[in-house]
Point group: D2
Chain length 286, copies 4
């Protein structure tokens, strides 16, 4: 009489070391750096910064502003996976240097995307957290490569990945030697045409039940519209997410990438105030 219930906890989940059955306590991932930021504990981690590192001044301005407003991790794209080969592909190692400098100046650990195996060393040299993007969640060779790196990994869910596939991608990383995996729900492809992606926040309780790994939410990519981001950030925190990732820009209308979903500096600061109240209401801190 309870259809569906037995689909939630499989007798033999194919994921093993990522499973809550083998590791009942939630994992807390240390992002390193001066501030000892952790993901998976009481404090909700806020990862903020520009979609792309466009130049040194804009990055420094955004980094200081988000730090000031309460962010605990700096995000920024150096290697950009772009659907269109003729569009801006990121500044590469130059951007990594700027990110490291901004991280140093603000004390924020830095998260940035690594797109291929040969980029792992250089990204790991400058960044504190290696991000695997949506397009690479099923790139098993890359998963195994970051599984051998010494830095934590932020693993974004694939556009059409099932929960099972998402957790098995984490398993690939962990079984390669790296237990420090943070999951990130960033929206899936559906028929909805008023959003860039559909953001399924039920992934949060599902991951909490199935796995010990922390789960964060990216409402910028998850919706594609800046005006929806504060509402979905509040929802994610209320749902129990361990962190958030958002895009912040000092001049969104002129952003080189993802301007439509980027918050302004003021918008971010205002949102952080709202989020503190929601976090407190569910026994968390921000």
């Amino acid at each position: 009489t309870c259809p569906g219930v037995d689909r939630v906890v499989p007798i033999l989940a194919p994921y093993k070391i990522a499973s809550r059955q083998t590791h009942p306590e939630p994992s807390v991932i240390d992002l390193g750096g001066r501030m000892k930021v952790k993901v998976g504990g009481k404090k909700v981690c806020m990862m903020a910064g520009p979609c792309s590192v466009e130049n040194r001044p804009m990055l420094m301005e955004v980094a200081h502003a988000v730090k000031e407003a309460g962010a605990t991790c700096l995000r920024g794209g150096a290697f950009k996976p772009r659907t269109n080969p003729y569009e801006f592909q990121g500044l590469g190692e130059q951007a990594l240097e700027m990110l490291a400098e901004a991280g140093e100046a603000t004390g924020l650990p830095v998260v940035t995307e690594v797109m291929s195996i040969d980029q792992v060393p250089v990204v790991a040299k400058y960044a504190d957290v290696l991000q695997i993007g949506t397009r690479n969640m099923h790139n098993f060779n890359l998963l195994m490569a970051v599984g051998k790196a010494a830095k934590p990994v932020l693993l974004k869910r694939g556009w059409s990945a099932t929960l099972n596939e998402f957790l098995l991608a984490a398993e690939y990383i962990i079984q390669s030697g790296n237990p420090n995996v943070i999951l990130c729900e960033r929206g899936i492809r559906t028929h909805e045409d008023h959003v860039r992606n559909t953001l399924p926040l039920a992934t949060v309780p599902a991951v909490k039940r199935e796995s010990h790994l922390p789960i964060i939410v990216d409402p910028a990519h998850g919706t594609g519209h800046a005006y929806m981001v504060p509402s979905m950030c509040r929802a994610a925190v209320a749902a129990g997410a361990d962190g958030l990732m958002v895009e912040v820009h000092n001049d969104p209308p002129h952003a080189m990438t993802d301007g439509a979903q980027s918050l302004t500096l003021d918008g971010f600061a205002q949102m952080m105030n709202e989020l503190r109240a929601v976090a407190a209401a569910v026994g968390r801190e921000m």
Copy 2:
């Protein structure tokens, strides 16, 4: 440089009287009954009750329990749309009588589904709110029929409806004469297989921007799993929803329908306590 932004506010939205452009103030819908329950104001409306009305004692027990815990509206199925013609189809008018009695006893307004034009008079006789289910969101003749009824309408989003189609379905009701429409996001069909439906909470800010109509969320159908319901209720309130609809049963494992997604009486009461804190954090009441 801002892709997608102009998709959000169309120059000429096809929906007119449902649009915020023609009615900038949010609508507040009066559900009627002794308690003067309203949807769309500061207070978040909680609609709770069994999936199906199974018999008089269980309905009365659940109705009193949810009222006690803070529900402001009683839900319960009398005419049940069932995929399988051989399954329980609801008790019909008998259930409507029980619902009216339970509404009278608790003071809660009653919401229940109407499946066809010929059922409108009898449902409107006993219930305070007429529910149009997911399967009938595109049933335009039924929309026009409830548009001529004197009771408010709760309109559930279709499984694969776009936002535009959802608001145009509301437009059908309003232009038939009934301005009292409450929208309900209840999940969409996607590739996800760990949930019954995918619950896109970004519908809440989208509707708030596009329309003056109140929007509530149904996390029971939106996930299919009782363990996800409290998390998604908190998220919906934090996102700005004007109300919630959940299924509560005194004995979920033996429920005739939807047991897997029904809360127990205690589970509901505990969830209400959590929701009050979240509502307060976003300037609402519960």
Copy 3:
């Protein structure tokens, strides 16, 4: 070692009288009329005509042209389900009269949509086949109403219906007393944005395996683009479909509805020639 195989033939399919297990021989449905057109036999049925009946002259012109080119059934909309309440809703009974006249003049049986229970008698009076549209596949009360009518029913798949739900909708009709059900695959809602719907032709072999009912394909709604229709018609016949439904207009750019997916008269005649060769290659006739 064969994942998925046991999902194909459930031990106890919830559909009974629609199932091949209880009725191993394929059903052949007689559409009635002078021409004794049948669906489900060796001859592939071609249902063609305008999306909407716009006026008498255009209907007669199209009806004679499609008859001439080899169509075996005339389609045309009298009651039109429109997403937008402010758009053309069809000419109603006036259109039904014209359809009956065109059917009489050409000898073609007529199929047209019925949108609500109260329309069943008038549609059954004029038409040979009652069409249930995509939006009403889950409208169980309407299914039961056409299940009591004396005319065959063309049941279109819902936008997000599973195969199981599709066959159970047929079951509703059959168990209400009407065994003459023709299924129609017309495309589903997905993330694809270069088509109006995604047309899953694998529904044809799946239905053939699961059920004895004939299955036809509607590539006009299934793609939304006239240029794709001939290709998808050929594919459907090669896949084993028992029939096709297409939209044909004497002046597609000025059609009141669905012009983009309507074939011209010449385009239809040319396509019929191609289809005859494909039908012969798979042992069918056209």
Copy 4:
């Protein structure tokens, strides 16, 4: 009055060298090898073989059998992308050697998947065609790497890729220096649960209109069920596909991977006979 038509041919398609606008004639790709097999011409290419190369005898048996039945290219997995890290990952270079031997023995060119940049040289050493799998369609660095290889590339569509993204992935390969790209539709992720993927054959006419590149169809992955494969192969040929890719095994129930969707040797030979008739009906050869 023609909604959707202008979506089909964008004024400025973001894909350039993959576009039909810059290259009106269809491309014909030479697969090399003794048999001078071409994809994109009058003859429909049939790529057949086991999902995984399991051992030398089974590969040789299957290779000779498919050659005998009319296949024009041998497929077989050496590096297998597996969702579950604990499942069989392929025999690697050992399998490549066997494939080369089987190709030599039968005269069939060999296509096999390359999963990472570092595998490109070894795969290009043994194989005639480099396959990019579904999971790597968005792996831009890998696309650029095969774009520098001297062998043709078979590019499978991503599970949730749009047509635009699919053609831009081809653009990445071509603009890196390799014009020999064959596209492959292999099904998308949708809500359908009676198939492993939903196979949208309308991709065939869409690609033909938008691009000069040849397009083939993989109904094995596109449906997940062997019983659907012949029907969907016939449909793909009738729709105008330039080739097919199927899985054939000498003992499907004991296949190490994808047994449920693999044809038997006899099943394949029988299907080839049917396909010849369909190909002839649409002016092609098999």
